[in-house]
Every structure is written in C-alpha cells, then in structure tokens.
C-alpha cells in the first residue's frame, strides 16, 4: 500500500497567505468604512468651497427614527427647495455626513430648521441638484475610531506572522523548502549512482552554533525588563486609548441615540482588560528596578552527560531578595494552527535544581556544578517544534515583583 510522501508536502506558507487574506478582509472593511464615514465627508466638505449660496425654504424637518434588531438609530431628515436660474430644485441632504447621530444632535438640527424656515443652502455650480444646508464637517469620534479599529486589527493580522517569522532566524533545522532553496550540493551527498565513494555525514548549522558557544560565557536574559515595560506600556496606551475614546463617544454622542445603558454594559469587559493592562504597566515598571542577575557558564554548549559550572551574581538592591532559586529546565514546545490562531503548547520535560538559597551572601554570589543527563534531548529548533534548554533564576522579593529571568543555553547531541 502506498503512502503520501512527507518530503513532498508543501510547507506552512499557506498559513501566512491565509492570514494575509483574513487580515485583508478586516483592513479593507475598515478602510471602506473610514472612507464612507470620515474621509468622504471631509473631502466633499473641502471640495464644496466654491459652491454657490442660494435662498431656500425648509419643506420637511423631522428626526428619522429607525428601530431594528441592532437598536435604535437617529438621523436628521431635513428637506428643502431652492431655485437656480429660474428652475426649482429639491434636496434632502442636510450636510455631507451619512452617519447616524445622537438623538440630541438630531433634535438640535431639526429645531434649528423648522418647516417653512427661509434660510440659505449651497449648491454645486456644476450639478445644480446637489445641495446642502450645512457645508461644515460634523466631526464624530465614532466615524474615525470605529473603522480604525478594523484597520489596525487587519494590519496586525497581516504583519504579525511576518514579524513572528522574522524572529525565528536562529532556527537550527529548517524545512525541506528552506533547504531546497539553498545549494543542492548539500542534499545529494549520498547518491550512490552519482558517486558512491563520498559518504560523509551532512554538516549542520547547529554544529557551527554549538562550536561558537562551546566556551565560557556570560549569558543574557531571554527577555529584557525594560523591553517588557515598554511593550506593556505601548499595548496599554493603545488599548486604553481606543476603549476610553469609545466610552467618551458613547457618553457624549451615543451609538445611535441618547445615553443608553447597553453600550456601557458592553464596554465593561474591555474597560476591565484596560485596568489590568494599566496595572501591568506599574508591575513591569517596578520589575525594572529589581536587582540585576549576571550568569556565567563554563560552556554555553554542553554535551549530554557532561558537567558545567554555573555561577550567578546579583547587583543592586540585593538585600530585598529573600530567597533565590536557580534551576535548569528542558522544554519542548509545539506550535500549531487552530482556525486563524497560532497556538504554542509547552511542556517542561526536565528540571535540574542548581541552588535554592536564602542566605544573603549565597543570594548575592554563588556557583555550582551540574550535569546534563545522558538520556535526554539536545537543543532542537524547527519552524514549528522546538526543544530548548534554559537556566531559570527566581528571586523572591516580598511586596514587589519577583526576579524571574531565563537564560538560554545549548545542549549538544
């Protein structure tokens, strides 16, 4: 029975294409809304500067109430007639905005323009049927922010995988696609029909990286505290900026009418997420001022069954650290796609305790020798699956964010 060959499978390129298509739907929907609700009225307002003013009479003026499944919406319906070059014309465009407005704003417009009122309108000298009473742009936060959320979400979906892929540049093992894109000489080294005299094991980028790291090393934490703080700050400002603008919009304009309770209730979960993010900003800021941990290894690439010397040194407010735990962790991680989401599951398969100290001198400086098990897996990183090794430093600081730093190192085959 024949099987489907794995080496002929196409790689996950379609994932990025799929994400781009999905993100484009958000992006173009947002841009279309932005054009219709904000940009088009603005463009028309600017291009109407040469429109001609003419006397007109209001013939109909009412607040148009529309009740449908999505709630009640309000729109000012003002009709008027005017004369251009002896010919009668009618228009029902109060201004260039086609958006629904708050009940209050609609009432103001209708009350200011009662039936029979003699006022003035502006008509297009090129197209006399095109006329409005109000040429000024009636700016609405909703008109800009609501479509912008779609635009930003779309951009995030499209650009996210590109940046994510870029961060995988240190992958040890590539895919068939990546390999075949390179020189072919490295692939067909064992072709007996071509040359059965050269059978050398294939060299691997991981071997070169192991060689480079196989010397005494000072390790840097995998994540920088300041970067953590700045990223959290950025996300919090973005999220809370949008949420507060929408809440402000509801409070001042309403979604379709007056001050309604339902939109506020709808916004509560979003506001709570915003509060958590604001709290995270303070938490990550406090962590910036934690004592710094310097970690040194006798080798940055350790063979299985080999021993390594691990030394740590804390500087800064070291007296605030009540206990310090240093461990080695081996972790397998698997990334898979569920719908449009990319999910990574992790499992720690090996934990090796190095130190668990509470004496202030031992916390400040210490060193231990530790052995990597023989029967374990070496460092491995493909596009979607990974085996990684790290030293985890956990310092407990009462009433303050703990020290939690990860330092990656390599385990050789």
């Amino acid at each position: 029975m024949n099987i489907e060959p794995i080496s002929e499978k196409s790689k996950q390129g379609c994932g990025i294409v799929g994400m781009t298509i999905f993100g484009s739907i958000f992006l173009f929907t947002g841009l279309a809304f932005l054009w219709m609700t904000a940009l088009k009225p603005l463009v028309r307002t600017n291009s109407s500067s040469d429109w001609v003013e003419a006397p007109c009479t209001i013939t109909f003026s009412e607040v148009d109430v529309n009740n449908d499944g999505d709630g009640t919406t309000y729109r000012p319906k003002v009709e008027f007639k005017y004369v251009v070059e002896g010919k009668n014309h009618e228009s029902d465009a109060f201004d260039f905005t086609s958006l629904n407005r708050s009940k209050k704003r609609c009432r103001e417009i209708v009350e200011a323009n009662p039936i029979g009122l003699q006022t003035s309108c502006f008509y297009d000298p090129e197209k006399h049927d095109d006329a409005v009473i109000e040429r000024n742009y009636d700016f609405s936060w909703f008109a800009c922010l609501f479509p912008m959320v779609f635009v930003l979400v779309g951009l995030g979906i499209i650009l996210g995988p590109i940046f994510f892929k870029g961060s995988k540049s240190n992958a040890i093992s590539g895919s068939a696609k990546a390999h075949l894109a390179g020189p072919k000489s490295g692939l067909a080294m064992s072709s007996l029909t071509a040359d059965n005299s050269t059978l050398s094991p294939p060299s691997h980028p991981g071997d070169i990286e192991d060689k480079m790291r196989d010397e005494p090393q000072k390790l840097k934490p995998s994540q920088k505290r300041l970067t953590n703080f700045l990223v959290t700050l950025g996300v919090a400002i973005f999220w809370n900026g949008i949420v507060s603008a929408i809440i402000y919009g509801i409070a001042t304009e309403g979604i379709g009418g007056g001050l309604e309770v339902l939109p506020f209730l709808f916004m509560i979960p979003f506001a709570l997420v915003g509060l958590v993010l604001a709290g995270s900003v303070f938490y990550t800021l406090a962590a910036v001022f934690n004592p710094t941990v310097e970690l040194a290894l006798s080798s940055g690439a350790i063979g299985r069954g080999e021993s390594v010397d691990v030394a740590w040194q804390l500087s800064g407010r070291t007296s605030s650290v009540k206990s310090l735990k240093v461990t080695i962790e081996g972790e397998e991680s698997a990334t898979y796609r569920r719908g449009t989401d990319s999910i990574t599951d992790k499992n720690i398969f090996c934990t090796i305790p190095i130190a668990d100290v509470s004496d202030s001198q031992d916390i400040e400086f210490g060193s231990e020798t530790v052995t990597i098990p023989v029967d374990t897996m070496h460092t491995f990183a493909a596009n979607r699956n990974k085996i990684s090794w790290k030293i985890v430093v956990h310092g407990v600081i009462p009433f303050w964010p703990d020290i939690k730093e990860n330092y990656e190192f390599r385990v050789k085959p």
């Binding site: 024949n2 099987i3 060959p5 794995i6 080496s7 002929e8 996950q12 040890i172 093992s173 068939a176 390999h179 075949l180 692939l187 067909a188 080294m189 064992s190 072709s191 007996l192 029909t193 059965n196 059978l199 050398s200 094991p201 294939p202 691997h204 991981g206 071997d207 299985r304 021993s307 081996g330 397998e332 991680s333 990334t335 898979y336 796609r337 599951d345 992790k346 499992n347 398969f349 090996c350 934990t351 090796i352 305790p353 130190a355 231990e368 020798t369 530790v370 098990p373 023989v374 029967d375 374990t376 897996m377 070496h378 491995f380 493909a382 596009n383 979607r384 699956n385 085996i387 085959p413």
Partner: protein, 126 residues
C-alpha cells in the same frame, strides 16, 4: 508496489553509522525514482520535516531493486516527548505520480530512542 528493507534488523542507528538497505518495486508506472533520507515531527505541533539526502535510481524500469546507503547525521536525534516526537525515515518515491513507501527508524547516541520526561534528575554537586 514499493518495499524498503534496511540491512540492520534493529531500527536504531548511531550518528555517523551507515544506513543501508534495498528498495524494490514492481508493476510501477513512472519515469524516475528516489530514495530519500528524511526526518519529520509527529504530535501536537504542525509537522516539520527536513530532506537530508537523496539517492536517485539511475535506471528506472517498471520492476527492479536498488541498493541505497546514507550516513546517519548527528542531529536531530530521535526523541519521543509529551507534545512532539521526531522520527527518521527512508522514503522511496516514484515520480511523477508520487506513489511512495516509508521505512522508519531512530537515530540516537544511546542504544535507544530518547523518551522525554524519563531523564534522571542528577543531584547538583555541592
């Protein structure tokens, strides 16, 4: 029909060891054939694989057999984890219709496949 037979009865190889065997086929329709040394992942994560080496059958006919020989690379070695496993295989493919057969084996420095989570935790030397 394609069959792959490895010379070694135990399906486990050490790095740098020769992986040799015979690929046989009969009543095959196609124009060419390849025996490939590959690894691939199985498990929760989306599948990764890598094509390491290719042995092209010189004179392909509807029936026949051919010896192949590869050198086992030093990495990645086979393992079986809670989330993912890594498997090595010889994959024989007839082109252009891509009918194929696979013979699986492990590459390991020790004489058995690494099972993650079973590693002993050594005491730290004080």
């Amino acid at each position: 029909m394609i069959t792959i037979e490895l010379d070694k009865s135990e399906a486990i190889f050490s790095p740098a060891e020769t992986i040799s065997g015979t690929v046989s086929w009969s009543e095959a329709e196609g124009t060419s054939m390849e025996a490939r040394l590959i690894w691939y992942t199985v498990g929760k994560g989306d599948q990764d694989f890598e094509l390491i080496a290719v042995h092209k059958v010189a004179a392909f006919d509807s029936s026949g057999s051919e010896r192949f020989e590869f050198i086992a690379p030093s990495r990645p070695q086979s393992f079986s984890g809670k989330l993912i496993s890594l498997q090595w295989a010889i994959e024989a493919i007839i082109f252009p219709d891509k009918s194929a057969q696979r013979a699986e084996f492990a590459i390991s420095k020790t004489d058995r496949e690494v099972v993650l989570g079973s590693s002993p935790e050594p005491e730290s030397a004080n």
